[in-house]
């Protein structure tokens, strides 16, 4: 395992700057997730580290080696894609073993079997070792692809939305398994996704990308609780953060233009007995099982609050809206966070 250093890297395609001045240090054994919408530069960043793209400017290091101009094969990285990339006519075991039999490595059969047994058990694919890749479900194929990468024990794992073609239940299950594996073996992983829950759940640190630039880097807790901008705040959380003009929440004297408030930081009460004057009307209640999302109208604006599933509210009910001042996020006119 190794560190990765991306030093002021830029990459332009024609008139489009896909990645601009990307500067990032990833620690040895760190699970680092790049999060952003389509077109933010996530995949280009990953391909630059893989050597599938060459930077126009800047330098790349894996461990102590400058790999800026090294070929992909010389970088000691593995790449797991969104689309399964197994050899269809090989069995699962052959797919796992193949990279380790390559001329540069040539591991003994005993060692290959030992490693295959180890990942097979952790990813629940041992009983599929003799099946052909074409006989597998999507979830099983992606388990094999992940297992194959992990068996190689490279300096760095690169993963491009490896879970996004799976259905919701599988995605969630495999997400936890991947996290457990990484915790156990301490691999360095650079992972890109557009799915905020995946980023929060998996990452030691998250880098939020927008329009080719790194907007903020921090632990999941840091970027969720302390976003630097409206753009970052909106990228994280489901239901999404409420962003409202200050006067809607009776916030004055802060110099802020807008405030952000997360749905779970709102408490709803009876307006006759609680709160200090903010009264909203219940428009809809989405009962999601473990929690409810209550959609309210406040001062002509939409506000989303998260409540316990036991709280039942009828449409049209008036409720008081309460929150702690320390949970408010203050933003200036340009959407930048103001800190006291």
């Amino acid at each position: 395992m190794a560190t990765v250093r991306i030093s002021d890297v830029s990459r332009t395609f024609g008139d489009t700057t896909a990645v601009r001045d990307l500067d990032l240090d990833i620690a040895d054994g760190e699970f680092f997730v790049l999060l952003g919408p389509t077109g933010a530069g996530k995949t280009t960043s990953l391909r630059l580290v893989a050597g599938l793209e060459t930077p126009d400017e800047g330098a790349l290091f894996i461990g102590d080696a400058d790999v800026t101009h090294a070929s992909p094969a010389d970088r000691d990285v593995t790449f797991v894609f969104q689309q399964y990339s197994l050899y269809p006519n090989y069995t699962v075991f052959e797919n796992l073993a193949f990279p380790l039999r390559a001329p540069g490595r040539r591991l003994s059969d005993a060692e290959i079997r030992r490693r295959a047994a180890w990942v097979g058990e952790r990813l629940g694919i041992t009983d599929k070792f003799d099946n052909r890749a074409t006989e597998l479900s999507g979830g099983e194929m992606q388990r094999v692809a992940l297992g194959r990468a992990i068996m190689r024990q490279p300096a760095v794992h690169l993963m491009d939305e490896p879970l996004s073609s799976l259905d919701a239940k599988l995605r969630e299950a495999l997400r936890s398994e991947l996290k457990a594996l990484q915790t156990e073996i301490g691999s360095t992983i650079l992972y890109v996704t557009h799915d905020q829950s995946e980023a929060l759940a998996l990452a030691d640190r998250v880098g939020v990308l927008g329009d080719g630039e790194l907007l903020q880097v921090g632990s999941p807790e840091e970027i969720y609780r302390h976003p630097d901008s409206v753009v970052v705040a909106r990228q994280l959380g489901s239901p999404a953060v409420n962003i409202l003009p200050c006067d809607v929440l009776n916030v004055t004297g802060t110099g802020a233009s807008d405030v952000g408030l997360r749905p779970e930081d709102i408490t709803l009460g009876d307006p006759r007995t609680s709160g200090d004057g903010l009264v909203a009307t219940v428009r809809q209640v989405e009962r999601l099982g473990a929690e409810n999302t209550v959609i309210l109208t406040l001062g002509g604006r939409e506000l989303r609050a998260m409540t316990a599933p036991e709280l039942s509210l009828d449409k049209g009910t008036e409720v008081s809206v309460q929150f702690l001042p320390e949970d408010l996020l203050y933003f200036d006119r340009d959407g930048r966070r103001l800190t006291a």
Binding site: K169, S176, L200, P220, E221, G289, S312
Partner: protein, 363 residues
């Protein structure tokens, strides 16, 4: 608006049975969701209601009118497709008014109804723009507008939000549900996304392999699933399943887990096997020093509003929804206990619930 009733519907394509013994009532003015994995028969069922497929046997009623054999165009039902078929170079107004134009409705009446629909859908400012300039959510609204303007007896929608990105989908589901509330329309929506079903529906029918497994309010399906398939399909993160020793007689009020008696809702059916399947949702498992089971944290995933722990216990791996501010660390030893009233007991052979399936939507 109308009530829709399906009576013993079968549908086969050559030797493949798409839908069998389907009995379903969609009450007038309700938002009804057909939920299930791909290939479960939900879209075929919807297409039969629309008149786009003929059932092999069985009957379909709109209120008291039997429509089993009537053509789609004679049913007065609006179908909103997943890939909205709009005329891209026509304006929003032109697209919405189109069905009235083909019916020969006079211009003045058309304009009045377009204005009404535009208000309901908040499209007033976009009426004169060509459709190709609009983004996903607005296009979706135009497609809806074209359905609404006919004042049909019911609306059918096949994965209407499926092509939108996550943020827009969340927004559109609120909007669509709000619209249904304002119009008090009978709506039937097909989706494979259980969150969408939970968030939007008055009633959900869960389907698998051509059959309806359970019909109920979202909370009833979530807290009182009729079988292990429904329990697993509904809810995210997924429900935990454990096995405890059986048999278990009817009218049992406790189960034994690792030597401790845990009070549960009484069983109505006996389990005559040497094990009983227990389902428990992640939010009903609690961390407790002197818990029922001892465990070790495998992973702790930060989810913003809570942590999702994976805990290895003596009875297998459990997901725990932990709302404490401090994140438990992998390797940490903890105890877990269970909210007994929310423990779900199933027959391991049939997968059927062995407790009463009471309606909990009012709780």
């Amino acid at each position: 608006m109308a009530e829709i009733r399906l009576n013993q519907i079968h549908k086969s394509f050559e030797d493949f049975t798409a839908v069998s013994s389907l009995d379903l009532t969609v009450p007038d003015g309700k938002f009804f969701v057909l939920l299930g994995p791909s290939g479960c028969g939900k879209t075929t069922s919807l297409r039969m209601i629309a008149g786009l497929e003929r059932p092999t046997s069985g009957e379909i009623f709109l209120d008291d009118d039997e429509v089993t054999a009537s053509r789609a165009s004679d049913r007065d039902i609006a179908f909103v497709f997943q890939h909205y078929a709009l005329y891209p170079f026509m304006t929003v107004r032109g697209n919405i008014a189109f069905p009235l134009k083909t019916q020969g409705v006079a211009r003045r009446e058309r304009n009045r109804r377009v204005a009404e629909v535009a208000r309901q859908l908040r499209l007033e400012d976009r009426l004169d723009e060509p459709v190709f300039t609009l983004f996903g959510g607005d296009r979706q609204r135009v497609a809806l507008g074209r359905a609404i303007i006919r004042h049909p007896r019911a609306y059918l929608m096949d994965e209407p939000l499926g092509t939108l990105d996550a943020e827009l989908r969340e927004h559109m589901r609120t909007e669509l549900r709000g619209l249904q509330d304002r119009m008090q329309a009978t709506m039937v929506m097909v989706t494979h996304d259980q969150i969408e079903a939970m968030a939007m529906a008055d009633l959900v029918a869960v389907m698998n392999a051509g059959r309806v497994l359970q019909v109920g309010s979202p909370m009833t399906l979530y807290r009182r699933p009729a079988d292990t398939f429904v329990a697993r399909f509904v809810g995210s993160p997924a429900i935990n399943f454990l096995e405890i020793p059986g048999p278990l007689p009817a009218n049992s009020e406790t189960v034994t887990m690792r030597g401790s008696a845990v009070p549960v809702r009484p069983t109505t059916t006996a389990v005559d096997h040497d094990m009983v399947t227990v389902g428990i949702r992640p939010e009903y498992v609690r961390l407790a020093d002197d818990g029922t089971l001892a465990g070790r944290v495998i992973t702790a995933e930060y989810m913003g509003t809570h942590h999702l722990l994976t805990v290895e216990t003596e009875l297998g791996r459990l997901r725990v929804r932990d709302t404490h501010r401090r994140r438990a660390a992998p390797g940490e030893r903890i105890g877990v206990s269970f909210e007994g009233r929310e423990m779900l007991l199933f027959d391991p052979a049939s997968g059927r619930a062995v407790q009463a399936i009471d309606d909990v939507s009012g709780e």
